[in-house]
Amino acid sequence: MVRVNLLLLAVLVLCALSLVTSRHQARKLFVELEREQAKARAYDTEFGQLQLEQSTWAMPARIEKIAREQLRMQVPGPARIEVVPEGAPR
């Protein structure tokens, strides 16, 4: 009888300890999860800012200015346009 009790006591202590460790593990993992989620949010924010930056760079007003002033591009005159009708042999 005593033996059985001792055995049960040992099992109980083991269980208690494993509960403590798994609880600790769970908290550690949770903290890690939190950290990753915060990172995800930060990336999300950065993505928004990059999108903003990209669309600011890509604004037609800026593109046109560069095309006209730096690259000296212009719309070709009628004499320099040839219209290829749809389905015409090449």
Binding site: R27, E34, G48, L52, S55, T56, M59, P60, P78, P85
Partner: protein
Amino acid sequence: MTGVSASLHRAAPMPALPRFRAPLVFGMLLLLFVALAGRSLYLQWIDNEFLQGQGISRYGRTIEVPAHRGRIVDRSGEPLAISTPMKSIWAFPGQVEMAPGQLAQLARALETTPAALTKKLEDGSDFVFLAKQIPPDVAERIATLKIKGIHDQNEYRRFYPAGETMSHIIGFTGDRDVGQEGIELTQQEWLGGKPGSRRVIINRRGEVVEDLEAIKAPQAGRDLALAIDTRLQYLAFRELKAAVDANKAKAGGLVILDVQSGEILALANWPTYNPNAHNRVARDRMRNRALTDVFEPGSTMKPFTIASALESGHVRPDTVIQTAPGTFNVGPNTIHDAHPNGALTVEQVIQKSSNVGAAKIALSLPSATMWQTLSDAGFGTPPNTGFPGEVAGRLRPAKTWKPIEQATMAYGHGLSVNLVQLARAYTVFASDGELKPATLLKGGGAVAGRPVVKPETAIAVRHMLELAVQPGGTAPKAQVRGYRVAGKTGTAHKLEGRGYTNKYVASFVGFAPVSNPRLIVAVMIDEPSAGAHFGGEVAAPVFSSVMGSALRTLGTPPDAPQDNVILPAESAPVREET
């Protein structure tokens, strides 16, 4: 002796312990235990809630989970409005303690001077904002200074990369990221996020270690796709601005409409403002004139008069109308043509834009018939684009029309429209007689319209409108290289107070390519004052450049040779209508 000794030895009888002592002590101990048990019962069962609350308040926190506002994008997904997190720095001046060195560092981080900062802190209020909406990294630097009494808070700031080119449509949000103008206002429900919250346990390092109860999930705002095409919008804005400048005009508006889907591909207004710095802008500049202001359309209304007469069988395109001698009396009033013509066919009435011709045709119609056509074409009812404050324009009930009013309405006076309404009405001629619903939101392609006139009528009017932009018409300057276009000029005296003034509204509405109409462009220039004031001189060239560039941008196949533009000789007299 023994007796004595005996008496000495005889133990003095112990004073008897009072009988009640033991039970008393026992009872008191018992009482103490009872008190203890009672107290613990009290703490466990009765005061439990208060204590639990106290405990949680020491290690539990409620964290707000922010939900950001949805983006607004154009039809191809280009962002037009994005929210990004920012910080605001505030202080309780009474609690602020900092060393002079810290003050200097703080001032440097906030890009101000220590003196200005001190003044802000000493103006006597309990609470001051030191900086609003600054980038998070700057706020981080300030936080590392660890100054007592200075705090920060999270906020969102909305950015509009398209700036002034699109401010009237999109509008802007206020401090709390709530829409205040334009689409931001009408689509608040859709765009706005609902912040969530979590109850959590934190450890001594301030890290979250466990969720206490179910998370109230934040509801992020949804993205919204507009019908606007950023490229066309820029084009429209650039050309409109140039035209307003060149004509020294007060204001202007330009709308590009997709014929098949009724989507508004561009809507530009001048004057405008920068939505990224809208605080110092006069309300007047913020008005989306193309939707919230009305004007008398002038001759752009004539095609509807003609369509009504064709539809009801009162005239045919080749019916001859006598417009000589260029005046026409209706009761005591006289209607004038700017340039007297002789006998004109109905086609030529549109081509030459004869007021007398249009008035005569209108008077051959029952007023109810004409009213029905105008009303079916969307005049007098708001265009329902989903924009706040759009107006209906004025179209009075047919019963109240006097003959002179019916005659003047034939050429667009005595009724009023907004620019989007006018552009939309032209879908009747650009499609085969159907009025398409105009929308600012991206749709799924072609939509069915509401039939207004028979296809034959629409085609006949379309042909007349094509004549109007060719030499001999009123707007040869509206021609576009490589595309057949059709359209109508309008030049209206402005109504101020009780009478007409010598100020004008010049307009042009047209569509292209005529063989398979794709776009409608409507241009309105308010009070051109650099000499020219006719729609064919002021508005038609804007139409031409916008339409040409827009069709090329969209890759629409040309339906005319590249040398199709025939302008009359410079010396030829300008044949214009009023």
